[in-house]
Amino acid sequence: MLEIAQQNLISPMVLFFALGLFASFVRSDLSIPEAIAKTMALYLMMAIGFKGGVELSGSGLSATLFAVLIAGAVLSALLPVIGFGLLRATSGLSRVDAAAVAAHYGSISIVTFVAATQALATAGLEYDGYMIAVAAVMESPAIMMALLLAKRANEASPTDGQGTHIGREIFFNSSVLMLTGAFLIGYITGKPGLETIAPFIVDPFRGVLCLFLLDMGLIAARGLRSGLGKLSMPVLLYGLYMPLVGAGAGAGAAMLIGLSAGSAALLITLSASASYIAVPAALRLALPEATPSIYLTLSLGITFPFNLAIGIPLYIWLAEVLT
């Protein structure tokens, strides 16, 4: 396990993330234009989605595939309930804020997922292409569950005709759509399709990821600088133990289904990761009463770096031990 951890820590990916953190802490003017950051995010989802679809078109549908899709949806819906309970029991967060935070940890971080696939490649482990479909499936249920959890506190207010807007934001947000769309296109066009666009979506992938993580470092550090002081200790700790709770649940599901080590590592990573793109955008619309600085600082400032540096090697090791 230590070897994976070490390899991970000195990978260009993690080091560029650290460079971003550093640049932000010394208040450098280094920044990646928003248009580029947004496009890189779309690119990563296009690439990972497409490759997953191609993989699946090679291996075909299977019972395991459906089992793990269902497991993903269930994990995404149940983890917020657990998280919500833990937060309400330990921290003084309001019902709405606790629900909002919990939603992030039920949903997933596609960048953490991508980083895990890279670490798997370095570790020489294979994974199933459909794991990308699992990632797509896990994005949204957590958001709906969180809205239900918050509802009790908030009976009267939201939606008033906002339902369709929010529904779109949950199911057709750009992450979900790009991931699923590219997955389907990859599935339809298969290997020959992949060959035509591999020099765009496969070869430069890791390099783009490095630049993207540089930007994530800049943003995470800014989040930490401005938001850390506002978080109480129990909330802060949640950002560190909740990934492990998620990882445990994911590991259990992986064992039940009998996934391979690589796929198990990814299911664990998905469960352990916290969203910071799709969920914040959806919640801002659906639950404006929740405080963004709490859930953003936690998921992007604490959990993301934790997963990137420590979590991923741990989850791979766990998967290898358990399978």
């Binding site: 990646i32 401005s226 910071y276 793109i277 914040p280 801002r284 404006p288």
Partner: protein, 105 residues
């Protein structure tokens, strides 16, 4: 000034991008004929400061909605947008302007 001008109101609404569609729904509802949305780079307010290149998605991004409209619609629009900027993040202000083609507004 010999040119015939007409008194209108210039309503400026700074609102987080995620709630922009709600503002536009209000403008629609009261029959406001036109508006323009300008991007912003950075800012500060009661809810803290933000910077476009350091934020993700629409979460904290502010846009400025400029709407030149007839004084008769001012009150309705102000009241309705007030509700939104109180629930989401934003501010509203109004100033007097003159325009030439009254029928256009």
């Amino acid at each position: 000034m010999t040119l015939k001008t007409h008194e209108k109101k210039r309503i400026e609404i700074m609102i987080e991008a995620a709630a922009l569609h709600r503002i536009i729904e209000v403008l629609d509802r009261f029959g406001v004929t036109g508006y323009t949305v300008l991007p912003a780079l950075a800012g500060r307010g009661m809810s803290g400061d933000w910077q476009r290149d350091d934020a993700f998605g629409d979460t904290a991004r502010i846009v400025s909605v400029v709407c030149i409209t007839d004084p008769s619609k001012e009150e309705d629009v102000l009241l309705a947008t007030k509700d939104i900027v109180e629930r989401y993040i934003g501010i509203v202000s109004v100033c007097d302007v003159k325009v030439l083609r009254s029928e256009h507004f």
